[in-house]
C-alpha cells in the first residue's frame, strides 16, 4: 500500500483544490527530505538499520541519501564529535543550502554523552544550530524515525519567509555562521 502525504487545509471542489503556496511547498519539502548522514560511531550503525529494509526510511520520502552537503536538506549527526571534528562538521553545515535542518542523534551528538572529556565536543549545538534532538545511547531506529518525523512536522509548518527573518539570521550569527 502506498501512503501519500495528508492533504493540507484548503478549498476543494469539482476538479480543483486551492490552498496556500506555503503549505504545498511545506508538504513537498517534508516528504522529500534528503538526509546527509554524518555518522561517526555506533549511532551510525543504528542509522544503517534505520535506512535498511526493516525500518526503511524511504517510507518517509528520505530514501535518497545525499553524500554531498550541497544537495542535502537534513544533516543527521550520529555519533561522538571530537573537538577536532567540530570545524569539519561546521563546514559541512555551511555548505548545505537553505532550507536546512539538523537532527542530532544520540547522547554524544546531543551533549557529549559519556565522553565528558577534554577531547570531545560537548554537544554539536556548541557549533551548529540543532532542530531535533534524539536521545539514547544509541537510540533505536524507531526513535530515529520519530526524530525524522519531527523534522517533517517542522518542514511542513515552516513559514516560507522564516529563513529570511532577522531572528533566523541572528540565530546563525550567534553561531558565527555567515549569512548572505
Amino acid at each position: 500500500m502506498v501512503n501519500t502525504g495528508d492533504k493540507p487545509e484548503g478549498f476543494e471542489g469539482e476538479g480543483f483544490f486551492a490552498t496556500s503556496l506555503g503549505k504545498v511547498i511545506g508538504l513537498a519539502r517534508a516528504n522529500s527530505l534528503w538526509p546527509l548522514p554524518f555518522a561517526t560511531s555506533c549511532c551510525g550503525i543504528e542509522f544503517m538499520a534505520t535506512m535498511a529494509s526493516n525500518y526503511d526510511l524511504g517510507r518517509f520520502g528520505s530514501e535518497r541519501l545525499s553524500f554531498s552537503p550541497r544537495q542535502a536538506d537534513l544533516l543527521m549527526v550520529m555519533g561522538t564529535i571530537a573537538k577536532k571534528m567540530a570545524p569539519v562538521l561546521k563546514q559541512v553545515y555551511d555548505q548545505m543550502a537553505e532550507p536546512k535542518w539538523v537532527l542530532s542523534v544520540g547522547a554524544c551528538a546531543c551533549s557529549g554523552g559519556i565522553f565528558d572529556s577534554y577531547s570531545v565536543l560537548q554537544g554539536i549545538d556548541k557549533v551548529i544550530p540543532v532542530d531535533v534532538y534524539v536521545p539514547g545511547c544509541p537510540p533505536r531506529p524507531e526513535q530515529i524515525i520519530e526524530g525524522l518525523m519531527k523534522i517533517q512536522e517542522m518542514a511542513k509548518g515552516e513559514s516560507l519567509r522564516r529563513r529570511d527573518s532577522d531572528e533566523y539570521k541572528r540565530m546563525l550569527e550567534s553561531y558565527h555562521i555567515e549569512t548572505s
Partner: protein
C-alpha cells in the same frame, strides 16, 4: 632463559654505562631500567647498534606524569624490541616538570617522530632536535597539555552535569 638474557643485558649496560643505570627491575620478566634523561640517545643508540643486543625496533614511546615525585615529575618511557633475540626492554627517564626537555629519538628511529609529537601533545615534553614538534591528536589551538594531572579530565564546557550528581 628470559631471566638470563635480562641479567646479561643489564650487566652489559651497567658495564658500559657505569652509574647511568639508576634503577633496574624486571616486572613480569620485562627488563626495566631508569636512565638520566641526558643520556637517552647515547644508551638507546648503543643498544640499537650493538651486534649482540640489536634492539632494532621501537615498540612504543610515551610520557607519564607523577606529580608527587618532586624533581622527577615528568617521565618518558621507551619500549625497545630486539627481533633477533626475541627480547624486549623498557627504558624510563624522568625530568623535573619545569624543565621537561629530552633529546629526540628521531635520529635513531623514524617511528619516534609521531610518538614524540603525541607525547608532546599530551604532556608538553620538549624533544630537542625533533624536526616538526607540533600537536598531532588534539586540536591545534589547545592551550594546555591535557594529560598533566593538574587538569581535570572532564570538559569545562559541559552543561548538563552538575557537581551535585557527579562529584566535580
Amino acid at each position: 632463559m628470559e631471566t638470563q638474557m635480562n641479567n646479561k643485558l643489564l650487566e652489559a649496560l651497567q658495564g658500559n654505562f657505569p652509574g647511568k643505570i639508576l634503577q633496574a627491575e624486571t616486572p613480569y620478566g620485562f627488563l626495566t631500567i631508569e636512565i638520566p634523561p641526558a643520556d637517552n640517545v647515547e644508551i638507546v643508540s648503543w643498544l640499537q647498534n650493538h651486534e649482540k643486543w640489536d634492539m632494532n625496533f621501537m615498540t612504543d614511546l610515551c610520557g607519564i606524569h607523577y606529580p608527587e615525585n618532586e624533581g622527577k615529575e615528568i617521565g618518558v618511557v621507551y619500549h625497545l624490541h630486539s627481533f633477533k633475540n626475541n627480547l624486549r626492554m623498557r627504558i624510563k627517564a624522568f625530568m623535573p616538570k619545569d624543565k621537561a626537555e629530552i633529546q629526540t629519538m628521531t635520529g635513531l628511529f623514524a617511528a619516534a617522530n609521531w610518538m614524540e609529537r603525541e607525547t608532546y601533545d599530551f604532556y608538553g615534553i620538549q624533544f630537542t632536535g625533533h624536526p616538526d614538534l607540533r600537536r598531532i591528536l588534539n586540536v591545534d589551538n589547545m592551550d594546555y597539555f591535557p594529560m598533566l594531572k593538574e587538569y581535570a579530565l572532564e570538559d569545562e564546557t559541559r552543561t548538563d552535569k552538575t557537581d551535585k550528581f557527579f562529584g566535580r
